[in-house]
Symmetry: C2
Subunit: 471 residues, 2 copies
């Protein structure tokens, strides 16, 4: 495709996306296709001859759209908000169109330096001290894996330069709560710790890690000849946005020589609101943290920020320096390939740069305050409705709710819960993703898609009452 064809079809693509976003509310939120249905629409083999871009544009409404669950829909309340703010989308368009790679600083200096600048902007926006240095990665899963590998290498005195984890006589142990994200467990297993060396620390009544239970678990392991290595605390757990007490956990971590990694993937964005910062009180005691601007904040996916207090340690664990990547200025610059797993690097900073500049900090703050206000409104409604319960505190934008009709309990209550959520999802009116809490199914309402206004939350609540109370 030559640049003039790109200009023509690019305008069509932009128009199509503009229309898609403007009319998002017209679609059923959750896709209604069955397994294999989209695949059956596609040729089993690739075309030998060029088809022309018109053919692709023709397939968008016919093949692709029916197979989408619409994350940018005003009544998307599933999983978490993954907001692709349109200014950030354009930043990503610039990045993809430029097609430059950051293998090293030299391979496109602006890629590295705009990343340094924007990650430092976000540091300031969320109130972190100057002791933190940031880098953009793809997802929190990868950041947490990097964090646990760094913890492993610190505790083992850089075992990777010797026999690796295979040379350790006393096993290293990782700590997290049952409410930590599944990626924490996965990272510990991929890093080679083994499930037998991953401790599930007890939580309190509001699903936050108990620092005293952590301390006790660490002491028990040490007494048994094992070596406590890292604790992963969460600011805003996936199920309930529970807030692990970072100050107390950091105190245990420092006393016991543990690496403290904080998963603030969702809730980190809220720290651009000064009134939310007490929620991660103690964060300065952490060694590493992840927060995802590609969630609530609005950066187009993927844009996950990993901050560390000791970048030299990170680089020592991650660095490679083959001759084909060397340049004359390597001593004076950051080579971000040594700040994470992949060597190749998109110009991801552009989408963050465009988001922050076009929205301004004040614009981002206003939107997040709107969403928190909507969550508080819904929580108040649910709490006062007969037979409805809010099951956990609502510090941010996620509610855990259940409708509990008389006579239903345990499995029959679970069936009722899953059934009314499923009716809403199938109706297309809204999208909700249930989860289990304390062994029972409940429904998470995650508020904060870009176009979600109060009226959308009102419509959701009406649908919930209709589908649950008639069930």
């Amino acid at each position: 495709m030559n640049p003039e064809e790109f200009r023509r079809f690019g305008h069509e693509v932009v128009d199509w996306i503009a229309d898609y976003r403007a009319r998002a509310a017209q679609h059923p939120v959750m896709s209604r296709v069955g397994p294999g249905q989209i695949r059956a629409e596609l040729p089993a083999s690739p075309p030998q001859a060029p088809e022309g871009f018109e053919a692709i544009l023709d397939d968008l409404d016919r093949v692709v759209v029916p197979g989408l669950s619409h994350w940018q829909h005003p009544r998307f309340f599933g999983y978490f908000p993954s907001n692709g703010e349109l200014s950030s989308v354009l930043g990503d368009y610039l990045s993809t169109g430029l097609g430059v790679l950051g293998l090293s600083w030299q391979s496109s200096p602006a890629l590295t330096e705009i990343e340094e600048t924007t990650t430092d902007w976000v540091r300031q926006m969320v109130g972190l001290s100057e002791a933190w240095s940031g880098v953009i990665q793809d997802t929190a899963s990868s950041c947490t894996l990097v964090a646990l590998v760094c913890a492993r290498e610190k505790a083992s005195g850089y075992s990777l330069a010797g026999a690796g984890l295979q040379g350790e006589e006393k096993p290293l142990v990782v700590y997290a709560s049952a409410h930590s994200h599944s990626s924490v467990d996965k990272a510990a297993l991929l890093a080679g710790f083994g499930r037998a060396n991953v401790r599930v620390v007890a939580t309190d009544a509001v699903h936050a890690m108990r620092a005293d239970a952590l301390d006790e678990a660490v002491r028990a392991d040490r007494a048994a000849g094992r070596r406590p290595c890292a604790v992963v605390a969460t600011t805003g757990t996936t199920t309930t946005t529970a807030l692990d007490p970072l100050r107390a956990i950091a105190e245990v971590a420092h006393g016991q020589g543990l690496w403290l990694h904080v998963d603030a993937a969702l809730a980190g964005s809220a720290m651009i609101l000064p009134e939310c910062r007490p929620l991660w009180d103690g964060i300065e005691g952490a060694d590493s943290l992840v927060l995802n601007p590609h969630k609530w904040l609005g950066a187009a996916f993927d844009c996950s920020l990993y901050y560390v207090r000791d970048p030299q340690h990170l680089v020592r664990v991650m660095s490679t320096n083959p001759s084909y990547l060397r340049s004359a200025v390597d001593e004076k610059v950051r080579n971000l390939r040594d700040w994470g797993i992949p060597l190749g690097r998109r110009f991801r900073a552009l989408k963050l740069w465009c988001l922050i500049r076009e929205q301004g900090v004040s614009g981002l703050q206003a939107r997040l305050r709107r969403d928190i206000g909507n969550a508080r409104w819904l929580a108040a409604e649910v709490r006062t409705a007969p037979r409805w319960r809010v099951l956990a505190p609502v510090p941010l934008q996620t509610l855990c709710v259940r409708h509990e009709p008389p006579g239903l309990e345990s499995e029959s209550l679970d069936r009722h819960t899953l059934a009314w959520a499923d009716r809403i999802n199938r109706s297309g009116a809204a999208y909700l993703t249930p989860a289990t809490l304390d062994g029972r199914w409940m429904v998470r309402v995650s508020i904060g898609a870009l176009p979600t206004e109060r009226r959308d939350v009102e419509e959701l609540w009406a649908a919930m009452r209709r589908e649950a109370e008639s069930g």
Copy 2:
């Protein structure tokens, strides 16, 4: 930014990119800025108030472009071709604009099923059997890490479910050649094997792994009480595009019970040409392989394909199944979160779908044949020029060359080599990345940027003669 603003600024972005691509040849290929120069142009703190998108567009030519090394330039001969074909760029624009995520099949069925289809198209295009299943990941670094973790878990009988690598009494060992990519070493260290358990297998005169040396190394480790676990072979090494003999290596691997992972990150694309397939003869004997359509083939970065013969093993190693991600159809569909490290997943398949459909297999084949022809032409020119040498076979599109004036050897020859390459890079006429081969610096010429025609290679060769022979 609302959809109507997006429409307006989106057209401007598309026009700007169309102009950038059309005029790429006007820029010096390698950025001329010094360390810190771009950062100094940017405000140290984020804007409180919205700036408007016009301000960003104004900064593109002033701040961003001078800080770019232009990978889409017709005389970019550095690293490797990272081609963002404009049809693929538009596929990525669709993905970013839609803003849907593939956390599970249900969270956007088309995302998963178009990925299944397009990875199977590429499988057919490169002549792999139906025994292979593919998934899109970000980079070869991540794919190779996944491969070595899968090898580790196979050899250790799923140690991750127990004490991890920490419970292994006899160390697991990984094998690769000194010409394997730096990411292989990095993956082995991140996976916990330890440098002491990574063997550098000897290579032959053309820098390919010696299968007999592999066999010998494996036997020596086994005799010493260690457990050979995996071998990483390369089809097209980074420095010289050397071709490890896969058939012989697979024979050793099968005889010795090793996992065979093949890194065909660059050269895999060439397998869409039937005449190139002998270069990876024996590939069906591998357990996993990576090939990167985001390199020579033209998919916008990032788009790395990971193929495995046993997806059940991959899923068993990588799977997580928290309640908040479950859906009613999980047993009937692929949940691609269990096929790699990150949970979150862009709709990357769109850029591959658009590339293959708009170009057609025949269009892609024609471009790759053009590049191979250009490499052969340059190799013939260099070979017949006095004092010039081609240092390794040229099976594909990469040449390793040196100008060897009389009286220069060892360090003085290195200084000469680095000096003339640097003069070309600073002139802006072309971009070359030197590397070491057999202990001496030489210059790699990696041909295959999208707009590179014969005349560009001719201009490069003229610049090489001018700068080296006058030096």
